[in-house]
């Protein structure tokens, strides 16, 4: 790439400089995380992924329960946000007049602007009590559950899903819709036969990107999940753990333990290791989402 290329102007030099700086900062960040967590990789090996116990006082650092919590909460959030967000996007793109679309889109994006700490407040004050009353019959211990966190997160990522789904759907050429309508299909037939199949890769990518968002969310989850360590479910496919407290990677990182860890090399590197795992999970999902989108571009019809 560097061959025979010499920047020809001040503005060009400047652009390259800042683009390079961005890349450098990113790489440096990732490398730093890795470097600072070397101790724990050496100490635990793969145990950090598979170990179900995290007891920092006996230097046992297994993140499996937190990874489980992270995934469950994110999937719950998606189960709520996906139908709602895609449904709303279908309505605004396919059924409502264009001028309405911008109004609703803007409103929903404002939902995205509500700070997560405010969501957390609402979670503590309203949602956890609702959950507590709703599931009273299951003798749940408190309103701090994976489900509470999942629902709260679902509302929080709803705008992300909706905005990206909106983009995916409105990316389907209008001519395609008109052609289908011209053949006598009604608006809904058109959605199922033209819009959705063509927007599918975009929709899947949207969901994966939203899933990544959900996994990274800290403050709101922190306040309603209960922060109970080592909640590895007895049965992997039982629903019971959903109404019990748990811990996610991000709620662990947002908690007090990071301050205890500060100054104690192994414990600190374990905490940094957790953030590296979190980063890895989210980056993996993002890459998968983008790959699906890119990959299907070649098979789908352009223009």
């Amino acid at each position: 790439m560097k061959t025979r290329y010499s920047p020809r102007s001040y503005i060009e030099l400047w652009s390259w400089l800042f683009a390079a700086l961005t890349l450098f900062v990113l790489l440096a960040g990732a490398v730093l995380l890795l470097k600072d967590s070397v101790l724990v990789w050496k100490h635990e090996g793969t145990e950090i992924l598979t170990g179900k116990e995290w007891f920092y006082r006996s230097e046992t650092f297994g993140a499996a329960a937190m990874i489980y919590g992270t995934l469950i909460v994110a999937v719950l959030a998606l189960l709520i946000a996906a139908p709602l967000g895609i449904g709303a996007a279908i309505c605004t793109v396919e059924y409502l007049p264009a001028r309405w679309r911008m109004v609703i889109k803007t409103m929903i994006e404002m939902l995205a602007g509500i700070p997560s700490v405010v969501y957390g407040l609402l979670g503590i004050l309203i949602l956890r009590n609702w959950i507590y009353q709703l599931f009273e019959d299951f003798e749940i211990l408190s309103g701090d559950t994976l489900l509470t966190a999942g629902i709260l997160l679902g509302v929080m990522i709803l705008p992300t899903v909706m905005t990206l789904a909106d983009d995916a759907l409105s990316g389907v050429a209008r001519a395609q819709r008109i052609a289908a309508r011209g053949l006598g299909l009604n608006a809904t037939d058109t959605i199922f036969s033209v819009s959705l199949p063509q927007a599918l890769p975009g929709l899947i990518a949207a969901l994966l990107l939203a899933l990544g968002r959900a996994m990274g969310e800290t403050i709101a989850v922190f306040l309603v999940i209960g922060r109970q360590d080592n909640q590895w479910p007895g049965e992997l496919f039982s629903l019971r753990p959903l109404v019990e407290s748990g811990q996610t990677l991000s709620s662990k990182l947002g908690g007090a333990e990071i301050n205890i860890a500060y100054g104690q090399p192994l414990h600190w590197s374990a905490m940094v290791g957790l953030s590296f795992l979190l980063l890895l999970l989210v980056v993996g999902l993002t890459l998968l989402g983008l790959w699906i989108r890119e990959h299907s571009k070649h098979t789908s019809y352009d223009k």
């Binding site: 007891f55 211990l141 309103g143 922060r227 301050n259």
Partner: protein, 295 residues
């Protein structure tokens, strides 16, 4: 067209000059040497009185005093140990282990008042008649051997135990009372709570709830402090007298921590905490002032 060029130039200038400022400042001396900023960090319990004292000091002297509560008591200890702050706040006595973790730091404990850790329950448990608890019972709950209030003469209700986050002074005082030393505490996992208001809120809104909380926050309206029944069968309330006389087993001193003898701004602040005004702030937030203790 021209506008954009102008914009870009202005922008570049602003950016470059801010870079310059940044560099200059990073080279400058740390404020700790200049003694301009007094930084305090630590226990959320101690924070209430200290933060308000800092407000008064700021107005009186015009000094800059930063107060933060990151990581609770152990956050205060470790940040003082690392030299990141000038005063730590701690709601538990320092242990040998704490001192060993930061050998470079000459910890001084400055006793500014007293408080106690109460074991609080939700309204339903209180109204069902559970008023006291023994150490043995609490151990059984902590180790998961007792899971229902029936065993404690309460209703048939699961015990929803919220454990204070490790690192909080409250938790360490509790752990020391229960097991003698923190190292002897068994490894358990319960739902955790952090701040005092979070604890109070969650206990108040959960049936069968039990948690540790600074006694000054136990308002007996939303959450209720249990008395402790000692081995002799005496039932000891977390009352002011019992805390002052250390009869209540989880009484705890509240400390400011300094590195070496307090000097300069640190000394000034500590003196303020010892003054009537400072001690009144300790009282205002529900703690026992030093004068109350010597009674």
């Amino acid at each position: 067209m021209k506008r954009t060029t102008v914009f870009l130039n202005i922008f570049l200038n602003v950016f470059l000059s801010s870079l310059l400022v940044l560099l200059l400042h990073s080279c400058g001396d740390a404020p700790s040497q200049q003694g301009q900023v007094l930084k305090i960090n630590g226990s959320t319990t101690v924070n209430l009185a200290v933060a308000e004292a800092a407000e008064v000091m700021r107005q009186q002297t015009g000094k800059t005093i930063h107060v933060d509560t990151q990581g609770g008591s152990s956050g205060g200890i470790s940040m003082l140990g690392e030299g990141l702050v000038h005063l730590g706040m701690s709601s538990k006595p320092l242990t040998q282990k704490d001192r060993e973790a930061f050998p470079q730091c000459d910890f001084h404990q400055i006793h500014i008042g007293d408080d106690a850790v109460a074991l609080i329950v939700s309204k339903d448990i209180w109204q069902a008649g559970v008023r006291s608890i023994t150490k043995r019972e609490m151990q059984a709950i902590y180790e998961g051997r007792i899971k229902n209030w029936q065993k404690l003469g309460g209703p048939d209700q699961r015990i929803a135990f919220f454990n204070k986050e490790p690192g909080r002074g409250t938790w360490e005082v509790f752990a020391k009372w229960l097991y003698g030393s923190i190292d002897a505490v068994p490894q358990v996992s319960f739902p955790e709570v952090g701040g005092n208001e979070e604890t109070r809120n969650k206990v108040a809104s959960t049936r069968g709830a039990l948690s540790q909380l600074s006694s000054s926050w136990a308002d007996s309206k939303t959450v209720f402090p249990l008395s402790i029944e000692n081995d002799a069968g005496e039932i000891i309330r977390a009352s002011a007298e019992n805390i002052a006389s250390y009869r209540y087993p989880m009484s705890r001193p509240l400390y400011l921590l300094s590195d070496g003898e307090p000097q300069g701004d640190v000394k000034e602040f500590v003196s303020f905490m010892f003054s009537d005004k400072g001690q009144n702030l300790v009282r205002k937030h529900g703690y026992l002032a030093l004068a109350d203790l010597s009674k």
